[in-house]
């Protein structure tokens, strides 16, 4: 791919976006001396690093699936990988704040391959202890207590308390089967009271939105980007389900589009802060995620990490890197296609059972990515699913989430979220039968 010269928003652009706390953070007086350690001939008595001799391990070995040779086919064999010597020493020792160099480098390459974002074009990448860690730090870096923030609604329940903890006002931007509604976003921004500062941040989940399962369409994404430029806000693109897409036609990420979409021609890049996760494709228990975006924001996130928890674990990074490096970018992408196929099958099973048991009793759009069905209970007079789900469904032996937990301001809603990632077809059938009975009971009760 030929590199098109790109104009980046200058560092000074981001200063008004950083929170007071992010601006006040001081570098660690010891870590700020670390660069001097590289001086040739220098003897360092600086860091309180433990001596690796005292760590009780000689090697870590693991076996993993070889990457699939062809899409949809599971790898024939296993590959054996070992961390020893210098790699083991790095895995066991304190490491850099924003992630181990070889892993950061590999991920840079991935972003280049997948999103067409080249190194040295104003963005950087940091690894965190899961993308939740980076999300929470980004929110702290960008929002002052009491600020307004644009939040796709319904939204991932895990992000709502982060805004609450800062006493932020969440401005709900509606979402439907095509993802975030630009009509709703435009109405909010154009109707914004004169003289009151507009929100500086939009939080959105573009792929397989948790909870709705919806994926934002290309035209919607274009319009969101355009609104971001027009009304001067940053886009937090939380994309943990990007690699689980099993729909028909893939849409590029915001991170890719701000650089290369025709609608971005002539516009400087640097409005998108992207969050990726390995939790759904390699391991959730590793707690590794990564953020890509404007350098000043990533520096603020790193500054937070340096004081709050020093770094993401070296060991899990080393294991992850060893595997990714053995697979290469192509092997990794083939693996993710295998994983998304796996969930496509699960979705199909779930949807067939929905048709069998809930036709006429619920409304839904089939998800194109992710692990969830989001559906509306058709119970006349019931605008809130919470009671039905929390008590009646539970009593019938099925547990699901009432939609209200995904609404930033906790409104009542007739929607329900069901996760289909773990269940066997038999369990799905039984669960939806129980749900059917629950809905029929509730309808009968409301008819009386």
């Amino acid at each position: 791919m030929a590199s098109i010269p790109v104009e980046c928003l200058p560092e000074s652009f981001y200063l008004p976006f950083l929170s007071d706390l992010a601006r006040a953070r001081q570098p660690s007086p010891i870590r700020s001396l670390f660069p001097l350690e590289a001086t040739p001939g220098l003897l360092s008595l600086l860091a309180g690093k433990p001596n690796p001799t005292t760590f009780p391990f000689t090697s870590f070995s693991f076996s993993a699936q070889a990457p699939p040779v062809e899409d949809g086919q599971k790898a024939a064999g296993e590959i054996a990988l070992t961390l020893s010597g210098a790699e083991l020493a790095d895995a066991l020792q304190y490491g850099p704040t924003g992630g181990m160099a070889p892993l950061v480098d590999w991920l840079h390459g991935l972003q280049e391959t997948v999103h067409g974002r080249l190194r040295g074009e104003g963005w950087t990448l940091s690894v965190g202890s899961g993308s939740q860690d980076l999300l929470s730090k980004a929110i702290t870096a960008l929002l002052n207590p009491g600020d307004n923030v644009l939040v796709q609604s319904p939204v991932y329940a895990g992000v709502i308390p982060l805004f609450h903890s800062l006493n932020c006002t969440q401005i709900e931007v509606e979402a439907d089967a095509d993802g975030i509604s630009t009509e709703s976003l435009r109405a909010i921004l154009e109707g914004w009271p004169v003289g009151k500062p507009k929100p500086r941040v939009l939080y959105t989940i573009p792929y397989g939105g948790n909870p709705t399962g919806a994926t934002a369409t290309l035209s919607r994404r274009r319009e969101v980007l355009q609104l971001a430029r027009e009304h001067n806000f940053l886009i937090m693109e939380d994309d943990p389900y990007f690699y689980l897409f099993y729909g028909s036609e893939r849409t590029p990420s915001y991170f890719a589009m701000e650089r290369a979409d025709p609608s971005s021609a002539g516009q400087p890049v640097g409005r998108v802060l992207r969050f990726d996760s390995i939790s759904k494709i390699l391991s959730a228990g590793m707690r590794i995620g990564f953020a890509s975006g404007p350098a000043p924001i990533l520096r603020a996130i790193d500054g937070h990490t340096a004081t709050a928890n020093l770094q993401p674990a070296s060991l899990t990074q080393a294991i992850t890197h060893k595997l990714l490096d053995a697979w290469g970018h192509d092997g990794f992408l083939a693996h993710t296609r295998g994983v998304s196929n796996f969930y496509r099958v699960k979705r199909d099973v779930f949807e067939a059972a929905m048709q069998r048991h809930l036709a006429g009793l619920a409304e839904w759009s089939a998800p194109q990515s992710g692990l969830f069905f989001w559906f509306k209970l058709l119970i006349p007079g019931a605008e809130d699913s919470a009671q039905v789900v929390r008590t009646q469904a539970f009593e019938r032996g099925v547990l699901a989430l009432p939609g209200t937990v995904f609404l930033p301001n906790g409104r009542a809603t007739p929607y329900v979220r069901a996760a289909f990632s773990l269940l066997t077809p038999e369990e799905v059938d039984e669960a939806l039968k129980r749900l059917r009975d629950t809905i029929l009971d509730a309808r009968a009760a409301s008819a009386q």
């Binding site: 870590f60 020792q93 899961g130 707690r287 295998g338 990632s421």
Partner: protein, 454 residues
């Protein structure tokens, strides 16, 4: 028998800690264990999509020379597979992996002789730094004061700068935190801080302190605990170097956590932090908090919202290792690690005496990995600051150490420099001390020349 009081934690918690809420999902998870229930609840990925087949750890014989007490043919190999591997790769519980928590709870009872009576519990974190930060965040309001041992680990100062509280320096000397100074601060509080709430907590590093290397003797700990009760503050015991004690055998002071019941006839005032970083691996990022449930729960509420939980992989690895060793095996390993650092200390002191006698002074540490050295850069002024010197002349001469001002909460001047002896080999240590000697001698000569010309 006199009755033992349990501290009410609620009045110590910050306003901010009350803003955190459980999201609507994790609070329902307990219902998933209802018999017969089919759960459509949690968005857990299916473990069959994770590409790992097994993880194998190869172990060194422990430094104490004991074989690890693992079952199976090869005592130096631990394999994580099957259910263990699923646990390692999947989302886990916020307070920590249940088996690791059980092991650590029993270990704390073994080491600190605290009965499991519900007055305390253990939570795991991604390194003790994270747990200390979240604890301070759960305690400190805008108008609050925190007593802080001085000099102190600057990592603590880094996050405290982002919290709204005011720091009150409590001096430490070669015997650790000085209770007389602590008492002076508290007994004059009403005049020095009229109308202000007394400090909520004291932060201290009792063993092999970073940076001073000092370890506080038990007699001083008892005085500190009595003051804690009298003036009603919590004791945050950051004991990252507790496993690195290499002083006279049998003379290691008991912990604040061990002593609080005996000294004060109460439970819950001490919040203890332990770390695996110095004895198992710093790159695993594993630490644990032992404290009143009210404190642990406040910390867990921050964790559940901001990072979900500590990596499962590292917790399962640690559990397999510790379960194989047992408490005594782990302590024997730690004793081996401590002996290693004792020999490093001896080596460094030997070369330091050789090159720095008359030019520098220090107290011999009995734990940890640091010497805190007073450089006598001016022959007649033992308190002359060394920060500028260390950043410029010392670096130019090719030796790097941390100027003491980095460890002063209010950034005051100090003649001290922190030396870490954990990594450096003897030949380089000798050269480093020789270079430091030159720096001091040249500085003194320049000062004398300047005196003569004026």
């Amino acid at each position: 028998m006199s009755s033992i009081a349990t501290i009410d934690i609620a009045p110590f918690l910050s306003q901010k800690s009350k803003l955190w809420k459980n999201d609507g999902i994790r609070s329902l998870m307990a219902l998933e264990s209802t018999p017969g229930i089919i759960s459509l609840l949690a968005g857990r990925p299916n473990s069959s999509t994770f590409p790992f087949e097994s993880i194998t750890l190869k172990l060194k014989p422990t430094l104490a020379g004991l074989p690890p007490a693992t079952a199976g043919a090869d005592p130096f190999t631990l394999t994580i597979e099957g259910e263990d591997l699923n646990e390692a790769l999947q989302y886990g519980m916020t307070p920590g992996a249940p088996r690791l928590l059980d092991w650590l709870t029993n270990f704390q009872t073994h080491v600190h002789k605290r009965v499991q009576d519900g007055s305390w519990k253990v939570n795991v974190g991604s390194g003790s730094q994270e747990l200390i930060y979240r604890t301070c965040d759960s305690l400190m309001n805008d108008d609050d004061f925190l007593l802080i041992e001085t000099p102190v680990y600057p990592g603590t100062l880094g996050f405290l700068a982002a919290l709204p509280c005011t720091l009150i320096e409590v001096n430490a000397d070669a015997q650790g935190l000085n209770p007389t100074h602590l008492e002076t601060i508290l007994s004059t509080w009403d005049t020095t801080h009229p109308g202000k709430r007394y400090p909520k907590a004291l932060y201290t590093i009792p063993s092999g302190s970073n940076p001073t290397g000092a370890s506080i003797p038990e007699a001083r700990k008892i005085e500190v605990l009595k003051l804690a009760k009298k003036y009603n503050f919590l004791v945050l015991e950051d004991d990252a170097y507790a496993f690195l004690y290499y002083g006279p055998e049998g003379q290691q002071a008991r912990s604040y956590f061990a002593l609080e019941v005996e000294v004060n006839a109460e439970k819950g005032r001490v919040v203890r932090f332990d770390s695996f970083s110095k004895v198992v691996s710093s790159g695993m990022r594993l630490g644990y908090i032992t404290a009143a449930p009210g404190i642990c729960n406040a910390v867990a509420l921050i964790t559940t919202n901001t990072s979900l939980h500590t990596p499962s992989v590292t917790q399962v690895m640690a559990y397999k290792l510790l379960a194989g060793w047992g408490p005594e095996g782990f302590l024997a390993h730690c004793a081996g690690v401590a002996a290693f650092y004792r020999s490093r200390r001896d080596m460094f002191e030997r070369v330091a005496h050789k090159h720095l006698s008359g030019l520098a002074e220090w107290a011999t540490p009995v734990a940890g990995m640091f010497l805190y050295i007073r450089l006598r850069v001016q022959a007649n002024n033992p308190d002359a600051d060394t920060a500028e010197l260390m950043r410029t002349k010392a670096v130019a001469k090719g030796v790097l150490a941390v100027p003491g001002t980095a460890f002063m909460p209010l950034r005051g001047p100090t003649p001290f420099v922190r030396i870490s002896f954990s990594i450096i080999e003897e030949a380089e240590a000798e050269e480093a001390c020789r270079r430091l000697r030159e720096v001091i001698l040249e500085t003194r000569a320049e000062a004398e020349a300047a005196m003569r010309t004026t």
